[in-house]
């Protein structure tokens, strides 16, 4: 047990689950850090211990030894009192927060997470890319209940995630929230007694204070590199490489993943699961009905996503705003599809008329706004042709052949890092603008897509 010498000790001042990888000898940080302005903790690294949290914490004590109460490694599933069927009052259950607390000090020291809340910034794309993180939390902390607080658009994504319990709507990107909603949300967060609150918003003072008021045990967020105060409210913070997290593409949450999956004691580093999407039977049936109505057959159509529109439902990433193609270009590509029926997904009904004029009867037009429906549509399709929208990620998650049109090579590498493995043909514009994309290359790729064998 505890083969590594530096993990023998467990400091009560700073629980080792917060800074597991660091094995610091007792340092004198508190003499220099908080008082002197020149040695700002934020200029060093995000992984340094936050001296603002406890200036009198000299780090782990190498001389201290505690018998490990948890030799098994990971936490166990929720301990729950057995139901008593002989009880005349039936199964007596208290609402959370009113029950006698079962968690003990040792589990707190180990950093067990029973209830976790993720405050999500961004729309569908950002939430979709967060799925691996959710799966990782689920794997790392068995029995954890994961709740989500996201914007109204982002919340819809959790229709296709099986690991989430509650999904609430609250827009944390809103700079001036309605006071009643703001206080209500703090109440909701407090009442759920979260062990861990994660936020993907780059937090300044206001958001850090909001998270602090949730009175969760661990508050973890991205912070601005130049706002020193926000780290004070958080137990762990990450300084993102760029202020817009989405610009990092598929690996936008890497810092958070690294922290969540960190090796602790005899628990090895948690591997990052791939992006997976699950579609319910109800949803499949509903979408099947829709595309059958539009004149498509299961496994014999190609989904086209990425029509230019000012609708909020276009499912773009915040990190790639140039990711929608005008209808004329799509019409050219659609003409090349001969083996399968093209099904064009529109984010708003107002696009339908123009599409019908340009494309005519060659393609079926489907109005779909939620990622759940889109996923179900992609699931039943022969392949996907799209720009850099959530459709790319959905196609990759469901292992569907995909032709992705990108504005540049760099963006393509960022958003689809393993294109070759995943049966995804990437076509990137050479000028850096999506509108200048090589339509001939796209046509060729589309023809190949039609010929791929379909196992529907």
């Amino acid at each position: 047990m505890a083969s590594l010498p530096h993990l023998h000790s467990l400091s009560f001042h700073s629980p080792s689950y917060l800074h597991p990888t660091k094995s610091k000898s007792p340092s004198y940080q508190f003499l220099t850090m908080p008082s002197s302005p020149s040695a700002s903790p934020f200029t060093v690294s995000a992984k340094e211990k936050n001296p603002w949290l406890d200036p009198f914490d000299p780090g782990e004590d190498p001389g201290m030894e505690i018998n490990d109460p948890f030799p098994e490694g990971k936490q166990q599933e929720d301990p729950r009192l057995p139901d008593n069927p002989t009880n005349p009052y039936g199964f007596l259950k208290f609402p959370q927060g009113f029950n006698v607390e079962l968690a003990d000090l040792a589990s707190k020291l180990r950093g067990d997470v029973r209830r976790c809340c993720c405050l999500m910034s961004g729309g569908v794309y950002e939430n979709l890319l967060y799925f691996p993180v959710i799966q990782l939390i689920k794997n790392r902390y068995p029995g954890v209940e994961i709740d989500i607080i996201a914007s109204a658009r982002g919340k819809q994504t959790y229709e296709i995630n099986k690991n989430v319990r509650w999904a609430n709507v609250y827009d944390i990107d809103d700079k001036f929230p309605v006071p009643a909603e703001y206080t209500d949300m703090i109440g909701v967060l407090k009442n759920n007694y979260y062990d861990l609150v994660l936020s993907t918003k780059v937090a300044g003072f206001a958001h850090a204070a909001f998270m602090f008021m949730s009175s969760a045990r661990d508050k973890v967020s991205y912070v601005y590199p130049d706002v020193n105060i926000s780290g004070l409210f958080l137990t762990e913070y990450f300084i993102p490489p760029n202020l817009n997290l989405s610009e990092s593409g598929y690996h936008m949450y890497d810092q958070m993943i690294e922290w969540l999956g960190r090796p602790v004691k005899n628990i090895p580093k948690e591997p990052v699961p791939p992006l997976k999407v699950s579609i319910s039977k109800k949803l499949r049936a509903h979408v099947a009905e829709k595309y059958t109505e539009a004149g498509a057959q299961k496994g014999k159509y190609v989904v086209i996503h990425g029509i230019q529109s000012d609708s909020v439902a276009s499912m773009q990433s915040r990190g790639d705003t140039d990711s929608l193609l005008p209808i004329e270009l799509w019409a050219e590509i659609v003409k090349e599809i001969s083996d399968a029926k093209p099904v064009i997904v529109i984010p708003h009904e107002k696009e339908r008329e123009e599409l019908e004029e340009t494309v005519g009867d060659a393609a079926a037009i489907l109005f779909m706004t939620t990622p759940g429906k889109l996923a179900a549509l992609i699931e039943d399709s022969a392949g996907v042709i799209c720009t850099n929208t959530a459709a790319v990620q959905l196609a990759l998650a469901r292992d569907k052949p995909c032709v992705a049109l990108f504005s540049s090579e760099e963006k393509a590498k960022l958003f689809v890092p393993d294109a070759e493995v995943k049966n995804c043909t990437v076509i990137a514009s050479k000028t850096g603008k999506l509108i200048d994309i090589d339509v001939e290359a796209a046509k060729a790729a589309v023809k190949c897509l039609g010929k791929t064998p379909v196992f529907a």
């Binding site: 959790y158 229709e159 995630n161 099986k162 690991n163 989430v164 319990r165 509650w166 999904a167 609430n168 699950s278 319910s280 039977k281 109800k282």
Partner: protein, 182 residues
Amino acid sequence: MALPVLKPHALCSAFQPSNSKINHNQLPRALGHLGQCRWSSHSLNLEKRGRRSLARHLNALPDFPLMAIMVQHVEGTRDWIVHKSIWHLSDASIKNVYIFYFMFTVWGCCFFASMEDPYDRDDYRSQGGDGTAHWWYDKQEDIEQANRAELYREELIEEIEQKVGALREIEEAIGKEEQLVK
């Protein structure tokens, strides 16, 4: 004088300082006096005339004294009092008026508040209000949560089926091998 109400109220003897010396035997009578002058300023005059006529006339509607002064304003001179009338409400009348106002308000609140059914409003029903005393509903969230739980179960069953299928294939393969060996 055309208006009888114009008669100065000070004539009502119950208010005069000389009456403050009345002893207890006289008190009921003095109170009676007060009561009379409260209701009619005529009664005083009648008594002054020596109680010759006991026939007291009672107005059907008591003439509440109210004071109103109409004034004509002329530049450089004093105001001319053109018209003046006085109407005093007694304490009891003021009380009655306020009680009436209060009761009317209470009745109005009860009556008009009950005109609308709070449970039949759209914002209540649309949030899942079902007429119970609870106000906070998470019906939508509950439905979504149940659906996700179901999705989780579906996936789990699928996974198990796949594993079982793989196991069966292996078993079959082993069985075939055994047969071949035999």
